[in-house]
Protein backbone atom coordinates (compact mmCIF):
# COMPACT_ATOMS: atom_id res chain seq x y z
CA UNK A 1 0.00 0.00 0.00
CA UNK A 2 1.58 3.30 -1.07
CA UNK A 3 1.00 6.82 0.25
CA UNK A 4 -0.93 7.94 -2.80
CA UNK A 5 -3.51 5.17 -2.41
CA UNK A 6 -3.96 5.92 1.28
CA UNK A 7 -4.33 9.65 0.64
CA UNK A 8 -7.07 8.98 -1.87
CA UNK A 9 -9.01 7.17 0.85
CA UNK A 10 -8.80 9.99 3.41
CA UNK A 11 -12.55 10.75 3.33
CA UNK A 12 -13.41 7.10 3.96
CA UNK A 13 -10.74 6.74 6.66
CA UNK A 14 -12.10 9.81 8.41
CA UNK A 15 -15.67 8.53 8.26
CA UNK A 16 -15.02 4.91 9.15
CA UNK A 17 -11.63 4.55 10.86
CA UNK A 18 -12.40 1.02 12.11
CA UNK A 19 -13.20 -0.29 8.65
CA UNK A 20 -10.00 1.20 7.27
CA UNK A 21 -7.72 0.16 10.14
CA UNK A 22 -4.84 -0.88 7.81
CA UNK A 23 -4.86 2.53 6.14
CA UNK A 24 -5.17 4.22 9.55
CA UNK A 25 -2.07 2.38 10.77
CA UNK A 26 -0.21 3.56 7.67
CA UNK A 27 -1.29 7.14 8.35
CA UNK A 28 -0.03 6.93 11.92
CA UNK A 29 3.33 5.55 10.92
CA UNK A 30 3.98 7.61 7.77
CA UNK A 31 5.08 11.17 8.51
CA UNK A 32 4.03 12.55 5.13
CA UNK A 33 0.60 10.91 5.20
CA UNK A 34 0.03 12.04 8.79
CA UNK A 35 0.67 15.69 7.96
CA UNK A 36 -1.61 15.45 4.89
CA UNK A 37 -4.28 13.73 6.94
CA UNK A 38 -4.20 16.55 9.52
CA UNK A 39 -4.71 19.08 6.74
CA UNK A 40 -7.50 16.97 5.33
CA UNK A 41 -9.24 16.77 8.71
CA UNK A 42 -9.10 20.55 9.01
CA UNK A 43 -10.43 20.94 5.49
CA UNK A 44 -13.19 18.40 6.11
CA UNK A 45 -14.35 19.94 9.39
CA UNK A 46 -14.47 23.41 7.88
CA UNK A 47 -16.38 22.24 4.82
CA UNK A 48 -18.93 20.40 6.97
CA UNK A 49 -19.37 23.43 9.22
CA UNK A 50 -20.07 25.74 6.31
CA UNK A 51 -23.60 24.34 6.21
CA UNK A 52 -25.10 26.82 8.65
CA UNK A 53 -24.39 29.78 6.48
CA UNK A 54 -27.69 30.26 4.62
CA UNK A 55 -30.25 32.26 6.62
CA UNK A 56 -33.70 30.72 6.74
CA UNK A 57 -35.34 33.76 5.18
CA UNK A 58 -32.98 33.63 2.18
CA UNK A 59 -33.69 29.93 1.74
CA UNK A 60 -37.47 30.45 1.87
CA UNK A 61 -37.28 33.37 -0.54
CA UNK A 62 -35.28 31.37 -3.03
CA UNK A 63 -37.71 28.46 -2.79
CA UNK A 64 -40.57 30.84 -3.56
CA UNK A 65 -38.68 32.14 -6.59
CA UNK A 66 -38.09 28.57 -7.79
CA UNK A 67 -41.79 27.71 -7.40
CA UNK A 68 -42.87 30.84 -9.24
CA UNK A 69 -40.39 30.11 -12.05
CA UNK A 70 -41.79 26.59 -12.38
CA UNK A 71 -45.32 28.02 -12.35
CA UNK A 72 -44.35 30.45 -15.11
CA UNK A 73 -42.75 27.62 -17.07
CA UNK A 74 -45.95 25.56 -16.78
CA UNK A 75 -48.06 28.52 -17.83
CA UNK A 76 -45.79 29.18 -20.81
CA UNK A 77 -46.05 25.51 -21.84
CA UNK A 78 -49.83 25.57 -21.57
CA UNK A 79 -49.98 28.80 -23.56
CA UNK A 80 -47.71 27.32 -26.23
CA UNK A 81 -50.03 24.32 -26.65
CA UNK A 82 -53.15 26.54 -26.70
CA UNK A 83 -51.55 28.88 -29.23
CA UNK A 84 -50.65 25.96 -31.49
CA UNK A 85 -54.20 24.56 -31.34
CA UNK A 86 -55.71 28.01 -31.93
CA UNK A 87 -53.38 28.58 -34.89
CA UNK A 88 -54.41 25.27 -36.48
CA UNK A 89 -58.11 26.09 -36.01
CA UNK A 90 -57.72 29.61 -37.42
CA UNK A 91 -55.75 28.39 -40.44
CA UNK A 92 -58.39 25.71 -41.11
CA UNK A 93 -61.25 28.23 -40.87
CA UNK A 94 -59.46 30.72 -43.14
CA UNK A 95 -58.80 27.95 -45.68
CA UNK A 96 -62.48 26.93 -45.71
CA UNK A 97 -63.66 30.54 -46.08
CA UNK A 98 -61.18 31.26 -48.87
CA UNK A 99 -62.18 28.05 -50.65
CA UNK A 100 -65.83 29.00 -50.53
CA UNK A 101 -65.18 32.58 -51.63
CA UNK A 102 -63.05 31.52 -54.60
CA UNK A 103 -66.03 29.45 -55.89
CA UNK A 104 -63.88 26.53 -56.94
CA UNK A 105 -66.81 24.11 -56.81
CA UNK A 106 -68.84 26.27 -59.22
CA UNK A 107 -65.86 26.54 -61.52
CA UNK A 108 -65.73 22.76 -61.87
CA UNK A 109 -69.33 22.47 -63.09
CA UNK A 110 -69.04 25.52 -65.34
CA UNK A 111 -66.19 23.96 -67.25
CA UNK A 112 -67.67 20.50 -67.52
CA UNK A 113 -68.33 19.44 -71.15
CA UNK A 114 -71.78 18.00 -71.70
CA UNK A 115 -70.33 15.48 -74.16
CA UNK A 116 -68.10 14.11 -71.36
CA UNK A 117 -71.13 12.92 -69.41
CA UNK A 118 -72.04 9.32 -70.06
CA UNK A 119 -75.82 9.17 -69.87
CA UNK A 120 -77.38 6.10 -68.43
CA UNK A 121 -80.42 4.49 -70.05
CA UNK A 122 -82.59 5.77 -67.20
CA UNK A 123 -81.45 9.35 -67.76
CA UNK A 124 -82.18 9.08 -71.45
CA UNK A 125 -85.61 7.58 -70.85
CA UNK A 126 -86.40 10.34 -68.34
CA UNK A 127 -85.51 12.91 -70.96
CA UNK A 128 -87.70 11.09 -73.53
CA UNK A 129 -90.60 11.28 -71.14
CA UNK A 130 -90.42 15.07 -71.14
CA UNK A 131 -91.55 15.62 -74.71
CA UNK A 132 -91.39 13.18 -77.57
CA UNK A 133 -91.09 15.77 -80.25
CA UNK A 134 -88.32 17.57 -78.49
CA UNK A 135 -86.57 14.29 -77.91
CA UNK A 136 -86.84 13.35 -81.55
CA UNK A 137 -85.49 16.75 -82.58
CA UNK A 138 -82.60 16.33 -80.19
CA UNK A 139 -81.84 12.82 -81.30
CA UNK A 140 -81.94 13.76 -84.97
CA UNK A 141 -79.69 16.79 -84.54
CA UNK A 142 -77.42 15.31 -81.83
CA UNK A 143 -74.04 13.88 -82.82
CA UNK A 144 -73.91 11.90 -79.65
CA UNK A 145 -76.26 9.10 -80.59
CA UNK A 146 -73.85 6.20 -80.87
CA UNK A 147 -74.81 4.72 -77.53
CA UNK A 148 -78.49 5.47 -78.00
CA UNK A 149 -79.12 3.62 -81.27
CA UNK A 150 -81.30 0.90 -79.82
CA UNK A 151 -83.41 3.31 -77.77
CA UNK A 152 -83.88 5.60 -80.76
CA UNK A 153 -84.99 2.67 -82.93
CA UNK A 154 -87.45 1.61 -80.23
CA UNK A 155 -88.83 5.10 -79.96
CA UNK A 156 -89.20 5.43 -83.75
CA UNK A 157 -90.96 2.08 -83.78
CA UNK A 158 -93.32 3.22 -81.02
CA UNK A 159 -94.03 6.51 -82.77
CA UNK A 160 -94.71 4.76 -86.08
CA UNK A 161 -97.07 2.34 -84.38
CA UNK A 162 -98.79 5.28 -82.65
CA UNK A 163 -99.14 7.24 -85.92
CA UNK A 164 -100.21 4.06 -87.80
CA UNK A 165 -102.88 3.24 -85.24
Amino acid sequence: MNCSEVQLKFPEILREPKKYSTEMTHVKNCKNCKSEFDVFKLMSSSIQNMNDQIPLIVSRQNQKIINSKIERKNFANRMRILTSVAAVIIVSLISIILYQQSGQGQFYYDNLNVNDIAYSDEDVEMEFELSEEEILDYLITSENTNNLDEIVEDKFFDLENKNGS
Binding site: E36, M43, S46, M50, Q53, N62, I66
Partner: protein, 156 residues
Protein backbone atom coordinates in the same frame (compact mmCIF):
# COMPACT_ATOMS: atom_id res chain seq x y z
CA UNK B 1 -44.04 14.64 -15.53
CA UNK B 2 -43.74 14.97 -11.78
CA UNK B 3 -46.63 16.61 -9.96
CA UNK B 4 -45.94 20.22 -9.06
CA UNK B 5 -46.90 19.60 -5.46
CA UNK B 6 -44.43 16.71 -5.13
CA UNK B 7 -41.69 18.74 -6.75
CA UNK B 8 -42.35 21.67 -4.41
CA UNK B 9 -41.95 19.29 -1.49
CA UNK B 10 -38.67 18.07 -2.97
CA UNK B 11 -37.46 21.66 -3.36
CA UNK B 12 -38.37 22.38 0.25
CA UNK B 13 -36.51 19.31 1.45
CA UNK B 14 -33.32 19.56 -0.57
CA UNK B 15 -32.97 23.26 -1.38
CA UNK B 16 -30.41 23.93 1.33
CA UNK B 17 -28.28 20.85 0.60
CA UNK B 18 -28.14 21.73 -3.09
CA UNK B 19 -27.29 25.30 -2.11
CA UNK B 20 -24.42 24.16 0.11
CA UNK B 21 -22.96 22.09 -2.67
CA UNK B 22 -23.37 24.94 -5.17
CA UNK B 23 -21.89 27.72 -3.03
CA UNK B 24 -18.75 25.70 -2.42
CA UNK B 25 -18.14 25.68 -6.18
CA UNK B 26 -19.47 29.13 -7.05
CA UNK B 27 -18.29 30.91 -3.90
CA UNK B 28 -20.81 33.70 -4.06
CA UNK B 29 -24.22 33.75 -2.36
CA UNK B 30 -26.15 35.58 -5.09
CA UNK B 31 -24.67 33.47 -7.87
CA UNK B 32 -25.20 30.31 -5.84
CA UNK B 33 -28.87 31.16 -5.33
CA UNK B 34 -29.25 31.81 -9.07
CA UNK B 35 -27.56 28.50 -9.84
CA UNK B 36 -29.85 26.70 -7.39
CA UNK B 37 -32.87 28.24 -9.11
CA UNK B 38 -31.57 27.15 -12.50
CA UNK B 39 -30.86 23.68 -11.14
CA UNK B 40 -34.38 23.08 -9.86
CA UNK B 41 -36.05 24.57 -12.94
CA UNK B 42 -33.86 22.37 -15.18
CA UNK B 43 -34.65 19.33 -13.04
CA UNK B 44 -38.39 20.01 -13.29
CA UNK B 45 -38.19 20.57 -17.03
CA UNK B 46 -36.12 17.46 -17.70
CA UNK B 47 -37.77 15.20 -15.16
CA UNK B 48 -38.83 12.77 -17.89
CA UNK B 49 -35.11 12.10 -18.49
CA UNK B 50 -34.67 10.87 -14.92
CA UNK B 51 -34.31 7.11 -15.31
CA UNK B 52 -34.56 6.26 -11.63
CA UNK B 53 -31.23 4.40 -11.47
CA UNK B 54 -30.18 6.75 -8.66
CA UNK B 55 -32.08 8.78 -6.09
CA UNK B 56 -33.75 11.99 -7.22
CA UNK B 57 -31.40 13.94 -4.96
CA UNK B 58 -28.29 12.41 -6.61
CA UNK B 59 -29.67 13.26 -10.03
CA UNK B 60 -30.51 16.85 -9.05
CA UNK B 61 -27.15 17.21 -7.28
CA UNK B 62 -25.45 16.21 -10.52
CA UNK B 63 -27.39 18.92 -12.36
CA UNK B 64 -26.43 21.40 -9.61
CA UNK B 65 -22.72 20.65 -9.92
CA UNK B 66 -22.75 20.90 -13.70
CA UNK B 67 -24.74 24.14 -13.54
CA UNK B 68 -22.29 25.59 -10.99
CA UNK B 69 -19.25 24.47 -12.98
CA UNK B 70 -20.67 25.92 -16.20
CA UNK B 71 -21.36 29.16 -14.36
CA UNK B 72 -17.82 29.36 -12.95
CA UNK B 73 -16.27 28.55 -16.32
CA UNK B 74 -18.42 31.20 -17.99
CA UNK B 75 -17.69 33.88 -15.39
CA UNK B 76 -13.98 33.60 -14.65
CA UNK B 77 -13.93 36.80 -12.58
CA UNK B 78 -16.34 35.70 -9.87
CA UNK B 79 -15.41 36.71 -6.35
CA UNK B 80 -15.61 34.95 -3.04
CA UNK B 81 -16.48 37.89 -0.82
CA UNK B 82 -19.98 36.62 -0.10
CA UNK B 83 -18.83 34.07 2.44
CA UNK B 84 -18.13 37.02 4.73
CA UNK B 85 -21.81 37.93 4.85
CA UNK B 86 -23.25 34.74 6.24
CA UNK B 87 -20.37 33.35 8.25
CA UNK B 88 -21.38 32.01 11.61
CA UNK B 89 -18.23 31.47 13.63
CA UNK B 90 -20.15 29.92 16.52
CA UNK B 91 -19.47 26.34 15.52
CA UNK B 92 -16.01 26.81 14.07
CA UNK B 93 -13.08 28.43 15.71
CA UNK B 94 -12.16 31.76 14.20
CA UNK B 95 -8.88 30.39 12.92
CA UNK B 96 -10.64 27.64 11.02
CA UNK B 97 -13.17 30.05 9.57
CA UNK B 98 -10.51 32.28 8.09
CA UNK B 99 -8.75 29.22 6.74
CA UNK B 100 -12.04 28.05 5.30
CA UNK B 101 -12.62 31.28 3.37
CA UNK B 102 -9.12 31.29 2.05
CA UNK B 103 -8.67 27.72 0.92
CA UNK B 104 -11.79 27.45 -1.18
CA UNK B 105 -10.86 30.49 -3.25
CA UNK B 106 -7.37 29.06 -3.83
CA UNK B 107 -8.72 25.97 -5.55
CA UNK B 108 -9.67 25.70 -9.20
CA UNK B 109 -13.37 24.98 -9.98
CA UNK B 110 -12.60 21.33 -10.75
CA UNK B 111 -10.56 20.90 -7.56
CA UNK B 112 -13.33 22.53 -5.56
CA UNK B 113 -15.92 20.25 -7.13
CA UNK B 114 -13.83 17.15 -6.43
CA UNK B 115 -13.27 18.13 -2.80
CA UNK B 116 -16.93 19.05 -2.25
CA UNK B 117 -18.16 15.80 -3.76
CA UNK B 118 -15.60 13.71 -1.89
CA UNK B 119 -15.96 15.36 1.50
CA UNK B 120 -19.44 16.88 1.54
CA UNK B 121 -21.33 14.36 -0.56
CA UNK B 122 -19.21 11.36 0.49
CA UNK B 123 -18.78 10.21 -3.09
CA UNK B 124 -16.19 7.72 -4.27
CA UNK B 125 -13.60 8.61 -6.91
CA UNK B 126 -15.56 6.66 -9.54
CA UNK B 127 -18.80 8.47 -8.68
CA UNK B 128 -17.10 11.87 -8.75
CA UNK B 129 -15.70 11.06 -12.19
CA UNK B 130 -19.19 10.14 -13.38
CA UNK B 131 -20.74 13.32 -12.02
CA UNK B 132 -18.05 15.55 -13.48
CA UNK B 133 -18.06 13.55 -16.71
CA UNK B 134 -14.32 13.00 -16.59
CA UNK B 135 -11.82 10.20 -15.98
CA UNK B 136 -10.94 8.77 -12.59
CA UNK B 137 -7.30 9.75 -13.06
CA UNK B 138 -8.29 13.40 -13.61
CA UNK B 139 -10.28 13.28 -10.38
CA UNK B 140 -7.34 11.73 -8.51
CA UNK B 141 -4.95 14.39 -9.82
CA UNK B 142 -7.37 17.21 -8.89
CA UNK B 143 -7.84 15.72 -5.43
CA UNK B 144 -4.08 15.42 -4.75
CA UNK B 145 -3.49 18.95 -6.01
CA UNK B 146 -6.22 20.30 -3.75
CA UNK B 147 -4.77 18.61 -0.67
CA UNK B 148 -1.26 19.86 -1.55
CA UNK B 149 -2.58 23.42 -1.93
CA UNK B 150 -4.28 23.15 1.46
CA UNK B 151 -1.06 22.01 3.03
CA UNK B 152 0.71 25.07 1.64
CA UNK B 153 -2.00 27.41 2.94
CA UNK B 154 -1.91 25.87 6.41
CA UNK B 155 1.89 26.14 6.53
CA UNK B 156 1.74 29.87 5.65
Amino acid sequence: MIKKKDFNQFVKEYHDRIYYTTIKIVGNVDDALDCVQDTFVKAYKKYNQFKGDSTLYTWVNRIAINTALNFVNRNKTNNWNEFLEYDKPTKIENENTSFNKKWLSELSPTERSVIVLRIYDNMKIREVAQVLNTSESTVKVAYHRAVKKMKKIVKK
